[in-house]
Amino acid sequence: MKVSFKDWIKSGSPFIWLNAGAVAISIIMVIG
């Protein structure tokens, strides 16, 4: 099922991805 951009934003997923990004950056910083 295709998710529209509007629905995606509404679901709060972008913020969850950004939070996941923060963890990913922290991991890169440690490993880097």
Partner: protein, 749 residues
Amino acid sequence: MSKITAPNLDFNTPALKRHRALRAMKDKMAKWGIAFGGISIIGAVMLIFFYLLYEVAPMFVPADVKQVAQYELPGDKSSATLMLASEEQAEVALRVQDNKQLTFFNIESGQAILTETLPLQGDISAFSLNTQASRLMAFANDSGQVLLAKHNYKVTYPNDKRLISPWLEYPYGEEGFQIFEDDRAIKLLSIRDGEEAMIAAAVDENGELNVIRYVKEEDFLSEEVVLEREDVSLPNIAGKINQVEFDQAMQWMFILADSRLLHVVNLRDDSLEQTVNLAEYGKITSLNMLLGENSIMLGTANGLVSQWFMVRESGEWRLQNIRQFETTSELVSGIESEQRRKGFYVAGKDGHMAIFHSTAHRTLFDEKLVDSQITHFTVSPRAKDLLIESADGKLTHFKVENEHPEISWASMWDEVWYEGYSEADYNWQSSASSSDFEPKYSLVPLAFGTLKGAFYAMLLAAPLAICGAIYTAYFMAPALRRKVKPIIELMEALPTVILGFLAGLALAPFIENNLLGIFAMLVVAPIAMLAFGFTWANLPAKIRHALPEGWDVLPLIPVIILSVWFAIEVSPSLEGVFFGGSMVDWLNNEMGVSFSQRNALIVGLAMGFAVIPTIFSIAEDAIFSVPKSLSYGSLALGATPWQTMVKVVLPTASPGIFSALMIGLGRAVGETMIVLMATGNTPITDINIFEGMRTLAANIAVEIPESEVGSTHYRILFLTGFVLFLFTFVFNTAAETVRQRLRTKYGQL
């Protein structure tokens, strides 16, 4: 039906009794152990607090002056004193008399040790002192001859006892020199002797001023100094000349005339730069130069002392009244500067004496010391002895306790107008190579640098750590969380000296060369994350489900690495298009924003790295501890996971998150090695992210090894430690108060 009977249990068997007794003892021991530990921590903190106070308190003690001896004037009592002086150890003093005799005497007893007579024809008609520290005196006679003499002291140790032997030296020969071409009598004399030149001013009986400059040239072979005479052509000077003084660089000549006009002559072009009418201050009764010979101290008939020095403003020089000092005396009869600090002594009416410090703008002492008018006085080179000659023909020796005059509230926290500056400023510059240096002890640049470093570190660390904590605690798969959390906490194990070293030597040049890339990263990386997230949401379910829920971090890692690589790669081209090839040059030249390689951005990145694990760990624990029933309830009612996080979990965890932030801030404020190595340690008050700073902690680390134990510099470093202590105390207290309020507010959730 059989009746069930309760088993007959005996709780008082000897074994159970022993067990209970042992448990009670363990409880008691734990209680006392915990209480002892808690009280010990409070005790240790209090000890640090009081130790810091103990080291700092002497700086705020006023000066104390105690009489130790009084005796009749040594040498010929019938002749007048021209000057008093003391040597380094304050064991031998000198009285210069107008009968051409110089009497060296024991400062404790007044016993004459040596009397020297000057090889000068006729009577002394004028006298001048270069500076007390130089010990060079000039004498003029009725026939216009000027003789320079220097009082010296030789220290020997016969029979292991210190013996100070005074002797007189004539550095420019015993013949002297003439200032006027003819043999006119000199009535007023002033000299300034420097390394490359000497300048002398003389006024004759008719009030005519003549100034001669002697340029010193050293003979290449004999190393003998030869004086080459140059006449200074003077502009017209109004009024009857009372006194002439020169600054250290011999650029300015200050002429006091009619006890109210101060003429400033520029000796570079022999022009009259300015005339200041001092009538509004009252009759000028005393004039002397402060240590360093940059400031003029003027004393008036109404007991005021004012400090003046030359200030350059809009390309023009002017003599500026910097600050004023009030004495309780009605008259200022004499001013003498200390020889190693910017303190000065002021003789008032009827035996009054006051001690001030110019930079600190501090009155350290103001009392009547002797019964009659002070005619002459001198302060020993170490400023621990004061010798006063009074009108009743007596010399009184005082011991002075004045260890730390340089410190006042104003000198630490207010703007101070330092010598040579065009305006009042906050400045930290604790030491220099010359002894006439004016120490600058403003704590504002250090406190500002500390907060600036902490602010930029928190700007990076707070969002990354809290967002990371949210995801790890709430959205991440438990199996992955068990691995990720220790990895991030591992960052804390990295020694900060390594971080600082890497930041200063590798990160700083890299960022300077890729400045735009760093800023581009801030935009490109989040966009890449969101684009990947949206694409992921629209991938076929088969692919999406290949990665279990809560493992989204793993595919993001290559996405972020690629986006960072892209930002760095594309930045040179963008710099070429938008910033003429170099963003750093563009900032410097076009925007007027100064850029130093080791700046707050580097500190923010490196210190942020050090602070992330502290905040992350505590915040993650706080979020993870929120009861699952709350989030399940929220989800069951139809809220999205993100809504549940924002509306339910975060408020409940907010006291813990706030604590995490405050502990992180405390860590950033106290961090030493990263700021020490990753900034230029320039104590400037500039919020610019591209400029460096010096923090309180780094300043202590840099300067404490070179400060003399017990000195003002040493004590003020302890004071900076005390300020740091107060910073963290205030932060932690505020954090605890806010945390308690948040806990009360969200505790019932």
